[in-house]
Subunit: 413 residues, 2 copies
């Protein structure tokens, strides 16, 4: 692809992503087996069939008395049925055996009557509500039958999934290995954190933004350091990233008029090279997308906010495909925009907003900053709203969809 | 407090929590200083003031040309203003100097005109849109002024907060130390994962559920093992937990009719002991809440689902207070209930639902299971809906609030 000087021609966001996906054809990475205690937030690699019935035996779903249901028919508050309190293994006709949630249902019992529907007397139990057969019994295999899919491939494992795996006696689980993402920061103006920047220099903050976004998805960032604005340096770092990682992200390289240095270098490194350069979005317009050694190379803006948006739009979907969880989406809410904002005809705008819960009503306050590049526009926000290419703006009071990256702020009176 | 036999008297959920909070008066834990690279998802301990202006210098918010705004007044598509391309340090009248996003604005320039509003000729630049003074310049201190609160106490640190800290030259950040939570599983019926359960035994799955829920909040679980259903064993484990941790969670102890063994033991261990025993909720009715050595003791059900709900309702708010982030809430969405479900008058019901995005319309499908204790009711769900105490149920099509614990499922076609 010829480099587009000054981005006179920008590629639409959807087109950019589909051109890239069609050429890259990203695949789910290999699986690795890890102890379930380490598996929180990892992604299940394969459908996992239950190796046994769960529950393994008929058990009580409530605290109460195991009884024979027909012994309770006709019971009522002022006409209780009286049953003998049993401590035997088997529940015979006319008997009730105390039982707690999760206990095996004793032989002979056909239902469990809840504690609240009984009165305990000295030697007997009064039942004040009839029980139907099977009532309050969790049958063997009712949760999962042996061979049922207990956990689907692509599931992000949460606390209760780990509980289920344990209940099924599973000590190790196959998860997709973490995608390794090499991070190359470019720019003569950058110094690494801990070193004192000279008057025109700035601390490299992008690496922390990009690494954090990788970690939030459970990918593994590998920071390769700062490349100076020279073809040789950028060349070497990109090659290092391609050798070490499943994907390479570069940011910046925009000083001394070198805005296109990274895509130029990437384009020279092999085929197909750079596929898209310049995207009709704001922020993040100078984003470029390339493929080298069959691996994705994301050339993001040097501006932290634009880099974060580039990550959201292009990197995140690819990492999720590598993780085998392509349909995972950020939580989103409908909210009411608190004031009018301008869009940018022909560009897709990612508007940062602060979503506030005002007694159950959600309001989205645009976090407006000049040039849309300031970090405060992210740190003061908890989500973003998309202004489509064909909209001149959004109106005050308009219902918008907010994609959340932090939790909603609850407004206290 | 007298122990309530058979829970004839249940405490309302809100009352239970406020009785507990009023007696416990939980406080934010101490801070610790850690490198920012390790601070993702940790909670900021104190308001952090910016130690310098950000940006540290006037910089360009766009790619384009640094110019003197008055040189562009009257420029239009077919009546461009022509400026000399400059490579000097200072921009003089009639000159334009190429500049990239983030670069310092050169002396003399009063605005930056976007690349898209210019045409580059051999030796000069044509500007086709007038620029107003200050346009596209991020002024020194515009993002944050020295002394501004850059990050508020109680902020859960995300990728962009780490970027901001780096940009401010901050190498270490004060975060609230992780609350340590001791986990005691009780019950003769339990075996630890990796050991083969006998026919009436089950694998202890609760510890993984509770530990995972702690980790999701960034608290530090400490599993103390299984206590047998004996006062001595439970006594020892609770004391161990109080010595090692900031909070103790017990689960179960419901075998052989010993449902109340843990609260009995906890009640004997000191003052004030158990404050609430039996809560008007489903699941999780046998929950007890106590205070020993000024630390919270949560006595949760032995049933994983009921334990998870008990954690959500009582443990989570206390941990969030300890973390200094009391107002953090799960993401929630409004959705339409796909079918009628029964409530339980007088009890607050936590209904597990699967929320599905059907082309922008959110539907909440109740995950119905008998006895509400099966793990599949959690693993098949991605959130929960509260059915209030005064509702007999919820209707089909009713708008409900779903509190999400996993991401929303997107329905393809």
């Amino acid at each position: 692809m010829a480099r587009l000087k000054g981005f006179e021609k920008l590629t639409n966001v959807d087109d950019a992503l589909s051109i890239f996906l069609n050429a890259l054809k990203p695949k789910k990475l290999d699986a690795e087996s890890i102890p379930i205690a380490d598996a929180l937030e990892r992604v299940a690699a394969e459908d996992m069939a239950a190796p046994m019935d769960l529950p393994r035996f008929d058990r009580s779903a409530v605290d109460g008395y195991a009884i024979r249901a027909d012994d309770t028919f006709g019971a009522a508050q002022f006409k209780p049925k009286t049953l003998e309190a049993s401590h035997e293994k088997i529940v015979h006709k006319g008997q009730a055996k105390q039982i707690w949630t999760g206990n095996p249902v004793p032989e002979g019992a056909t239902a469990v009557v809840m504690l609240e529907h009984t009165r305990k007397m000295r030697n007997h139990i009064e039942v004040v509500m009839p029980a139907t057969p099977e009532e309050n019994i969790s049958r063997k295999g009712e949760d999962f039958k042996k061979g049922d899919i207990a956990i689907q491939a692509g599931t992000r494992l949460k606390a209760h999934h780990l509980g289920l795996l344990a209940a099924l006696g599973t000590t190790e689980v196959d998860v997709v290995r973490k995608p390794r993402v090499a991070i190359v920061s470019t720019g003569n103006e950058l110094v690494d954190l801990g070193r004192k920047p000279s008057p025109n220099q700035i601390v490299n903050s992008n690496r922390f933004v990009i690494a954090g976004l990788c970690q939030e998805l459970d990918a593994e960032p590998q920071y390769l350091g700062i490349a100076r604005d020279s073809e040789k340096d950028i060349h070497a770092k990109i090659l290092e990233g391609l050798a070490k990682a499943d994907a390479v992200i570069t940011t910046g390289g925009t000083s001394v008029g070198a805005a296109d240095l990274v895509p130029i270098v990437a384009g020279k490194l092999g085929k197909p090279g750079i596929l898209v350069h310049g995207v009709a979005m704001r922020p993040g317009m100078p984003t470029a997308l390339g493929i080298l050694k069959r691996k994705p190379v994301f050339v993001l803006s040097g501006y932290p906010v634009a880099a974060a948006v580039g990550f959201e739009v292009f990197v995140r979907p690819i990492i999720l495909i590598m993780l085998g969880a392509p349909n995972e989406s950020r939580p989103w809410v409908q909210a009411q925009l608190t004031r009018r904002v301008a869009g940018a005809l022909g560009r897709r705008v990612y508007l940062r907003v602060r979503t506030i819960d005002e007694k159950g009503k959600l309001c989205a306050e645009p976090v407006l900053t000049k040039g849309s590049g300031l970090l405060s526009s992210l740190t003061k926000a908890n989500g973003y709203v998309i202004i489509p290419e064909d909209r001149e703006g959004l109106g005050e009071g308009e219902a918008v969809t907010v994609h959340l990256f932090s939790s909603i702020t609850r407004k206290e009176n």
